[in-house]
């Protein structure tokens, strides 16, 4: 067959290559996931999610990790091969455990001593998060952490804390590609450099809105490859969302999280955060085999 030519896409854009922590690189793709024959498509970075308190966690996670103690949990996750950690300080929520800012700072400081790239998230309580994230940012100055999250209606204080202490921000929007762009423009306008932004498009788990997340990620990634700079930040997905669904119990939960993660990675996520070590390992193996 003389005229048999493999079609190769020559995209003009490339995903921003960024650094988390001292040396973990993410992003850098100039084609869609897994299409090595036509360009660069680094496999997603795989991280694990940990919490300062374990009150919302199911038995699967409590059996897998020393969840009562966040620093021990962090160590165990690193031992399992996590390339980065995402810490959720849910215990600081005044309507929940109401842990103090000082306690949060102590936890964060201890974890950064493990030399693992870190994403620091508040509890979602707007007022308390301002204080907690600022204090944690200060305590980890220069460690190049990422702070989560900056949202369209409330991004200024997170961005300010990040800028003041040399960290990045995770921009969270609600499965809406237009908001992704808007938020990135807002962040840029107040001076956050593009290599200090991660896009969290919000992860709908398998069976719970995954198709919306999947197509939103695909469209963000295609936008980036077509040269739109406001879409060129790496995409971060929480496959761990799977554990918040009713299907995710026992062994099925592991499958649920792994398939959620694989789908996000296939759509274009550059960083995937997992909660269970088993699904983490399965996903790692699957990516290795692609």
């Amino acid at each position: 067959m003389a005229n048999f030519e493999i079609p190769r896409e020559n995209w003009t854009g490339r995903v921003q290559r960024i650094k988390i922590g001292e040396s973990l690189e993410a992003g850098g793709a100039n084609t869609l996931p897994f299409l090595k024959f036509e360009g660069d498509c680094p496999l997603p970075r795989l991280g694990m999610e940990i919490f300062d308190v374990d009150e919302d966690l199911g038995p699967e996670i409590k059996e897998a990790f020393p969840t009562k103690e966040p620093v021990g949990w962090a160590k165990a996750a690193v031992a399992k091969g996590a390339e980065l950690l995402s810490l959720r300080l849910v215990g600081t929520n005044p309507e929940r455990a109401n842990r103090s800012t000082a306690e949060a700072v102590e936890t964060v400081t201890k974890i950064t001593k493990l030399d693992i790239p870190l994403i620091i998230n508040g509890s979602g309580h707007e007022e308390k998060d301002k204080e907690v994230l600022r204090a944690c940012a200060e305590a980890t100055q220069g460690k190049n952490c990422f702070l989560g999250s900056a949202e369209p209606e409330r991004y200024k204080s997170t961005a300010a804390s990040a800028l003041a202490y040399g960290h990045g921000v995770v921009g969270l929007t609600n499965i809406d590609i237009n908001l992704v762009k808007q938020l990135n423009i807002l962040l840029k306008d107040i001076g956050v450099p593009p290599d200090k932004i991660l896009i969290d498009p919000m992860t709908g788990a398998l069976g719970y809105g995954l198709e919306y997340t999947y197509s939103t990620i695909e469209r963000i990634r295609l936008g980036a490859l077509q040269g739109d700079e406001m879409f060129q930040m790496p995409i971060l997905c929480y496959a761990s969302e799977a554990w918040n669904t009713r299907d995710a119990q026992g062994k099925l939960g592991v499958e649920w999280e792994a398939v959620t993660g694989l789908a996000c990675g296939t759509a274009g996520a550059d960083i995937l955060i997992m909660r269970h070590p088993e699904s983490f390992i399965r996903l790692k193996k699957a990516f290795g085999g692609i």
Partner: protein, 410 residues
């Protein structure tokens, strides 16, 4: 791609209606949008067929009983939709001592999600011996089948039941004789040659089994889909894949496998759910059944929340209420799958509908407080709703993630 007018010019213009459409123009319009096949016109000239060849769908639709695969038109679901969901088959060997048990399992496996029944579509039977194979096919023949093995063994099965022929060697003769679709295997170059030869031999319903060399399966299936959509007829067929495990199968569902042959049913539920997600038409959002949902074990004093039947809205609100561990009622109104604001703007989320829902669900008998919490985004409906129903209306948060603090304040 030819326009409806270009196509119309070449049609016989008899307006006979034999194609199933009232006029030739109507038929031309369907052809242009790839919703009809040229073959439906009994009077089409050879020249017209030749010049309108491009009207045929870029990827052939192949049917194995009621299973339809192929006929896709886009690379990304957001560009339009994926039309024919990946068919899932379970592999059973004719020598398997647990054949009957596994067959029963696959037939009985059914899940219901969002009003759809999810199930395994086909059985693939691996043949080793003519007699055993024929017996195995006999047992499974009420399912759509994939028949796998050497040609002589396959023939024994084909005498019992038709199916998709997946031969170890050349299967043109069998496909022709038994009028069954055929799998062809090989590298891209080999596939293109074999589909051409198959066509010449009179076998047109084909399925591709790509054997990547130096590339991965995702790359190969992506290339096949891209080339087919660019008009490469030789690769314009559905594809088949035998994944190594659940995650490879999941990848096949997302990236262009039309049929998957699974070795076990271990991850059937996540795979079927993924397939439902990926093959949902982005223009027609999944909807949940409009009714009164119980979260936890609510009683007569439990709060009642209200939202729309767009699945994502429901899942989000339900999840946020669930996280509070406070038992609640969640009233879902039929907004034809629209979210709160869109439904409000499009007049689908109205006072009348809410009033009707309150009545029809018998909410009055379930709670004694006669108070309902509406989404903050439709705060404007509260006055009218109170008037229409006599219920007290409380305005909830704009974003359901604030439901936990909303419940605390109460």
């Amino acid at each position: 791609m030819a326009t409806a007018i270009d196509i119309y010019k070449q049609l016989p213009k008899k307006n006979c209606g034999e194609c199933g459409f009232p006029t030739c123009l109507a038929f031309a319009m369907r052809l242009a949008s790839q919703k009809a096949e040229l073959e439906a016109c009994p009077y089409i000239s050879e020249e017209a067929k030749e010049s309108l060849g491009g009207v045929a769908p870029p990827i052939k639709l192949v049917k194995i009983r009621d299973v339809e695969v192929g006929d896709e038109t886009v690379l990304f679901r957001h560009d339009k939709t994926f039309f024919h969901q990946t068919a899932l088959a379970l592999l059973l060997e004719d020598t398997d001592p647990r054949f009957d048990e596994k067959l029963k399992q696959v037939k009985e496996l059914k899940f219901e999600r969002l009003g759809q029944v999810l199930k395994i579509d086909m059985v693939a039977i691996g043949g080793t011996d003519s007699k055993k194979f024929a017996a195995a096919v006999e047992k499974a023949k009420d399912m759509p089948l994939i028949l796998m093995g050497k040609p002589d063994v396959l023939e024994a099965g084909l005498k019992v039941s038709p199916g998709l022929i997946f031969p170890e060697a050349d299967g043109f003769a069998l496909a022709k004789e038994y009028k069954c679709p055929l799998v062809v295997s090989g590298t891209l170059e080999v596939l293109a040659e074999r589909t051409k030869k198959a066509n010449e031999a009179g076998v047109e319903d084909l399925v591709l089994d790509p054997k990547p060399e130096g590339r991965s399966m995702v790359e190969e299936l992506t290339i096949v889909r891209r080339m087919a959509l660019k008009g490469c007829k030789e690769l314009g067929y559905p594809t088949i894949m035998m994944p190594q495990g659940p995650l490879e199968a999941a990848l096949g569902i997302m990236k262009y496998a039309s049929i998957l042959i699974l070795k076990d049913l271990e991850a059937a539920l996540p795979l079927l759910t993924l397939r439902q997600n990926i093959y949902t038409d982005p223009q027609k959002p999944l909807q949940v059944e409009p009714k009164l949902y119980e979260i936890g074990k609510p009683g007569p004093d439990s709060p009642v929340f209200l939202t729309t039947n767009f699945s994502l809205t429901y899942f989000t609100v339900q999840g946020d209420i669930d996280s509070t561990k406070v038992p609640c009622y969640l009233m879902i109104v039929d907004t034809e799958g629209m979210s709160v604001l869109t439904g409000w703007a499009a007049d689908k989320f109205t006072v009348e509908k809410v009033a009707k829902a309150i009545k029809e669900t018998g909410l009055e008998k379930k709670v004694k407080h006669k108070t309902i919490v509406i989404p903050g985004l439709v705060a404007r409906m509260s006055g009218e709703l109170e008037e229409a129903t006599g219920w007290k209306v409380k305005v909830g948060p704009n974003d359901s993630s604030n439901i936990p603090s909303f419940l605390k304040q109460k």
